[in-house]
């Protein structure tokens, strides 16, 4: 169907976003945030390496063995930690802006009623807008991850293998689904709220709660985050003994983990950190077992996107209400 209404609406929305440079501006903004995280992480790592080399040289000069100091481990993909966090925070905010823009472009210009007087089913109108948004998110995030891969290759001096590229592609797919959830939420709100500005603010309130507050509560309730350096480190208690002690705080940990798990952001983070080997326990682990273990996070994100997409198509649109503010 080369000229189906869905395709025409999607193409028109993408053209609009390209014409006023909106999509370019948000992609550049996210790229700068993600790249600055990668570059500063690489600079900090080089400092660690230089410190290690200096300490090693001093020990060798004193005729001692260098085995007593731990060498910094280098896994290129682990440098993407800051970039993943920027995508989960700023990417989600951009998803809200794209969704809001998709709805408000018709509301502001009073063209919604005009569009619907044409032989266009309401689901086609909504699906066309949604497809345009999803394409823009996918392309934007694709460009961000390609830029990250190129810079990572340059700063690490180690070529990325197929395994690394597969892992990056998986994170891209999950990032697109994650950001799409916020896009669909904002698009839905902007189509159903009587005032567009209220919809934007409501979208940001949800973003604040899910992206920042819920994970932050979980993070700050972590007993190991209460004392600088960590309580167990201060008490010089080894990892197996820590786990033994924490058995007595199982319900506290369940509550903390429950608050974190209520946030889709935490699921995206857990999945990405595992796939990229950012979390120590997954570093160097093959993809298969990681995907099996992280399937819950994957399903959670996909179901959220699917649920929001279904809601968008299921709730009837009231064009008369939207034509006037």
């Amino acid at each position: 169907m080369p000229n189906s209404p869905l395709r025409i609406i999607a193409t028109k929305d993408i053209r609009d976003a390209l014409r006023d440079h909106f999509i370019l501006i948000v992609t550049v903004f996210l790229s700068l945030a993600a790249l600055s995280a990668l570059v500063t992480g690489a600079i900090a790592l080089r400092t660690d390496v230089a410190t290690f080399e200096a300490a090693k040289a001093s020990l060798l000069a004193l005729g001692k063995s260098a085995d007593q100091i731990k060498s910094p481990e280098f896994y290129p993909l682990r440098l993407l930690r800051g970039a993943v966090e920027q995508i989960e925070i700023i990417g989600a905010a951009i998803g809200i802006m794209i969704g809001f823009r998709a709805a408000v472009s018709e509301r502001g210009r009073q063209t919604l009623l005009l569009v619907l007087t044409r032989p266009v089913a309401r689901w086609q109108f909504l699906a066309g807008k949604a497809v345009a948004g999803l394409i823009m998110i996918a392309v934007g995030l694709g460009l961000v991850l390609v830029a990250l891969a190129v810079v990572l290759h340059l700063v690490s001096g180690i070529g990325l293998g197929w395994d690394d590229i597969t892992r990056l592609a998986l994170v891209w797919g999950m990032a697109v689904t994650y950001v799409s959830c916020f896009f669909l939420l904002s698009f839905f709100l902007a189509l159903h709220q009587s005032q567009a500005a209220h919809a934007l603010l409501l979208g940001f309130a949800v973003w604040l709660t899910l992206v920042l507050i819920a994970p932050q509560i979980g993070d700050t309730l972590d007993p190991d985050n209460q004392v600088a350096g960590g309580v167990f480190k201060q008490l010089h208690i080894a990892k197996p003994d820590q786990m033994e002690i924490m058995k007595g705080f199982a319900s506290y940990e369940t509550l903390r983990s429950g608050i974190e798990a209520a946030s889709i952001t935490k699921h995206f983070e857990r999945f990405s950190f595992a796939v990229l080997g950012i979390k120590d326990t997954y570093t160097g682990m093959p993809l298969g077992p990681i995907l099996t273990e992280k399937s819950t996070d994957l399903i959670w994100i996909f179901l959220t996107a699917l649920g929001l997409g279904s809601l968008l198509l299921a709730i009837p649109l009231n064009p008369t209400k939207l034509a006037k503010e």
């Binding site: 903004f29 700068l32 945030a33 600055s36 995280a37 500063t40 992480g41 600079i43 900090a44 400092t47 930690r81 800051g82 966090e85 920027q86 989960e88 925070i89 700023i90 905010a93 802006m97 823009r101 408000v104 502001g108 210009r109 567009a196 500005a197 209220h198 934007l200 603010l201 409501l202 940001f204 309130a205 604040l208 920042l212 507050i213 994970p215 932050q216 509560i217 993070d219 700050t220 309730l221 972590d222 007993p223 985050n225 209460q226 004392v227 600088a228 309580v231 167990f232 201060q234 008490l235 010089h236 208690i237 003994d241 033994e244 002690i245 924490m246 007595g248 705080f249 506290y252 503010e325």
Partner: protein, 310 residues
């Protein structure tokens, strides 16, 4: 004969009444107050759990015949129980201030009432002064409510003695928070007055807030975004390299989130960051500059139309 209050005061009072009725601003304000209460519980609960972990660990270490170090919780000041409050001020508090600043101007532009102001013998400066006064009162009330909630929480929490000096510091923290909120509220107000479209007027201050909260700490101190909103991790030193030293120095004038973070840490006994006094003064200077920007935008607003393009 009753005396008519000055015009700027009338505008401020009317604007404050409007903000109280404005649903979104009220919802965000209420969310902020609820989170302030939650932050107090979080601080107390997490510290209490850490203390219990220490007691269990002490038994464990004694049984293993090892030396038991001193309890790290004893080094924590009662004020630092409120450490999450600084994070919530910089997140939802700022968002509420941006919404208040935006709504105080955008709603009048959208409703088309600016030509009515223009038809009256009202000085532009009085209009600007009235709006800024309304913003100051709104964020002041928000900070004061948060302060009262924090004060009551301290009185209710068991075994948390607070000295008179610490009460003063606690008050200082809310003054600093009010200044930080005022900065972003004024910025949003200026943007709402100057922007051609309502959405752009809101998105510019939100984007700037995102940049100073999540991007600048990454560039200046290699602080990842989630660490930037963790009250303990956010105070970590920047890596000791020439790059971070120079970038930190060059971007310091616009790193207002860091100014607030270090100032709040000093008031809440969490850390004695070097030059935190300077950071606080600088935050005040930037807030004054933001108010000057808002005043300039409001005095130059077009009173013959003033509405948004779309």
């Amino acid at each position: 004969m009753t005396q008519i209050p000055p015009v700027h005061r009338l505008i401020a009072l009317q604007s404050c009444r409007f903000i109280l009725r404005e649903r979104t601003a009220s919802v965000l304000g209420a969310m902020f107050v609820v989170l302030v209460m939650i932050s107090a519980w979080l601080g107390w609960s997490a510290t209490d759990t850490t203390n219990r972990i220490y007691l269990d660990a002490a038994v464990f270490l004694k049984a293993a015949g090892q030396t038991v170090p001193t309890n790290p919780v004893l080094d924590i000041s009662p004020l630092s129980l409120m450490r999450n409050m600084a994070v919530y001020v910089s997140l939802i508090g700022v968002l509420a201030a941006i919404v208040i600043g935006n709504r105080l101007v955008a709603s009048e532009r959208k409703a088309g009432v600016l030509p009515l102001y223009g038809a009256r013998p009202i000085e532009r400066s009085a209009f600007a002064m009235g709006k800024l006064l309304a913003l100051g009162l709104s964020v002041g009330v928000l900070a004061a409510i948060a302060g009262v909630v924090g004060f009551v929480t301290f009185l209710l929490l068991p075994n948390v003695p607070v000295s008179p000096q610490q009460w003063l510091q606690f008050g200082g923290f809310f003054v600093l928070s009010a200044v930080y909120l005022l900065l972003f509220g004024a910025l949003a107000m200026g943007c709402a007055a100057m922007a051609q479209s309502e959405s752009v007027g809101l998105l510019i201050p939100v984007t700037l807030w995102l940049a100073v909260t999540f991007i600048l700490p990454q560039i200046t101190a290699n602080l990842n975004p989630t660490a930037a909103i963790n009250p303990v991790a956010a105070l970590a030193d920047a890596p000791h390299t020439a790059y971070f030293q120079w970038v930190g120095w060059a971007l310091a004038p616009i790193s207002v989130a860091d100014c607030y973070k270090f100032g709040a840490a000093r008031f809440l006994d969490m850390a004695q960051a070097p030059a935190s006094g300077f950071y606080m003064v600088w935050l005040g200077v930037v807030a004054v500059a933001a108010m000057a920007f808002a005043r300039h935008a409001l005095t130059n607003i077009d009173m013959t139309n003033g509405g948004f393009d779309a």
